[in-house]
């Protein structure tokens, strides 16, 4: 067991963790931050996506012990007080979910993805990897392919993200 201080959504959480614990289990089982969801526990579905130092990662493959000096953001930390994050508002406006199980992961992933695109990162569908990417539908679909939606709400998810990207 390891004593550590986790910084999550701007708050500090002292925790005693087993080295085997993933960030997903620490969030859900110890800290009652149940926004991030467990879909597959193998990195394949994206339901557990959170941001570490502003970058999207899969919390089911991240060992908590590696994170002592990192800043973690979960879906609970996206809104500004009572004001939803623009992506959250767009997801509601576009009806971008059905059961909602994948939604926290989709939201955190989209926040990270938009930052990557703003930094000029290409994707595998970017025709010229040297050029500045333009977030059209094909680009959004490729960049969000790490997040599955069993309800198949993709059309509305892409529309919601597209609105914020513009």
């Amino acid at each position: 067991m390891t004593d550590m201080l986790l910084s999550i959504n701007g708050d500090e959480y002292p925790v005693v963790v087993d080295t085997r614990e993933t960030l997903l289990d620490t969030l859900r089982e110890r800290l009652d931050l149940t926004g991030a969801k467990k879909g597959c526990d193998h990195g394949q579905c994206g339901a557990c996506t959170v941001l570490v130092d502003g970058r999207r990662v899969k919390s089911c493959l991240t060992l908590t012990v590696t994170l002592d000096d990192r800043e973690i953001t979960t879906v609970e930390g996206l809104a500004d007080g009572d004001r939803p994050h623009p992506l959250q508002a767009a997801f509601i406006a576009h009806d971008a979910f059905q059961c909602g199980y994948c939604t926290p992961g989709q939201l955190c992933s989209a926040v990270g993805m938009l930052a990557e695109a703003a930094a000029g990162w290409p994707s595998v569908v970017t025709e010229d990897v040297c050029a500045e990417p333009v977030l059209d539908e094909e680009e959004i679909r490729e960049r969000m392919s790490g997040n599955l939606c069993r309800c198949g709400a993709y059309v509305n998810i892409v529309a919601a993200i597209g609105e914020v990207a513009r």
Partner: protein, 326 residues
């Protein structure tokens, strides 16, 4: 998951010392493969030595006009690097063709090279598999091998190496910087990975405790005209069925030089040296490209359920060569 100790190495020397002191220890990079294999019971280290801060994350131009990539550089930073995008576009494309945005943010260059096969028997400790339990047999040969090797395999293992990045690095002839108990050395790609032979439990030529510290790309001006093409069962976020990495130096309709590597076909990223030498000096035409591809694939020994990979990889290779030539 079996309990383990977590240690963070401050530098490469202490990382190597930690592994030589503790034989049941393993290095931890981004953990995207190792944590999964530990959860599946395939990897059972007693100690994890985190090397993400011991090795460098830097990507910098090297004195010889190449590029030096620290082993801890994240896959996403490698693909986004301006020098990689301009001078080695097939490497940027190969990295971007792998996994998902989240996983590329976590995965390191060192860990990517040493990721294990996705053969389903290897990932299931309840099943026999010569790679996870030497001598227990290879059920893939008679069983599920649609995604496995068509060339260079042995009676003891028909697995493929799953890395997209490694295919581009093999084509580029990158060198892998290694630090071990005996000191430092470099291993040229594609020579890092090995064919299974009768020791399929060994994926690479590395010795226990060897640490990858960096990967160096040589100066290869014509690689600015290069491409990585991956064929998979769905449009995104799937391992390769087959893939090709090609750099082409062509002028006045003649191939001056080229680099070709194939993915999803072998236990190693397969450098197509026969096709390369057939093409040097040849007209840059679809006929010559097809002839060179057939020559390389003459050595293929597909299994019953993956024979389709032979024409598939040939056609993809001819297509990419033709695109680069025009």
């Amino acid at each position: 998951m079996k309990p383990f100790d977590y240690q963070r190495a401050a530098d490469t020397r202490s990382a190597v010392a930690a592994l030589s002191r503790q034989p049941e220890a393993m290095y931890l990079g981004g953990g995207t493969n190792l944590v999964d294999l530990m959860r599946l019971g395939v990897a059972t280290p007693a100690v994890l030595v985190d090397v993400t801060r011991a090795t460098s994350e830097a990507i910098e131009e090297s004195s010889g006009g190449g590029l030096l990539i620290g082993a801890a550089a994240r896959n996403s930073d490698l693909a986004a690097h301006p020098v990689v995008r301009h001078r080695y576009p097939m490497l940027a494309q190969a990295v971007l063709a792998g996994a998902s945005g989240q996983i590329r943010n976590m995965a390191t260059v060192g860990g990517n090279l040493l990721q294990r096969t996705r053969c389903s028997y290897f990932q299931d400790i309840a099943k026999p598999c010569n790679k996870h339990r030497p001598g227990s047999g290879c059920p893939a040969r008679e069983g599920d091998h649609r995604n496995l090797a068509i060339i260079g395999h042995s009676s003891s293992c028909v697995a493929t190496h799953p890395s997209d990045m490694a295919v581009a690095l093999a084509a580029l002839g990158a060198s892998v910087h290694v630090e071990g108990v005996e000191g430092t050395r470099t291993v040229p790609m594609p020579g890092l990975h090995r064919l299974p032979g009768d020791e399929p439990e060994r994926d690479t030529v590395l010795e226990p405790g060897d640490l990858i510290t960096a990967v160096e790309l040589p100066a290869l001006p014509y690689a600015s005209r290069s491409r990585y093409r991956k064929v998979r069962d769905r449009a995104s976020f799937a391992f390769a069925v087959v893939s090709v990495a090609v750099a082409l130096d062509e002028a006045d309709g003649v191939v001056r030089d080229c680099r070709i590597a194939l993915g999803g076909v072998a236990h190693v990223p397969w450098r197509a040296t026969l096709a390369e030498s057939a093409l040097r000096g040849a007209p840059a035409t679809a006929e010559e490209f097809t002839r060179a591809a057939d020559l390389e694939l003459a050595g293929a020994r597909p299994l019953p359920d993956n024979a389709f990979k032979v024409p598939l990889v040939r056609n993809v290779l001819v297509r990419v060569l033709s695109e680069l030539a025009s």
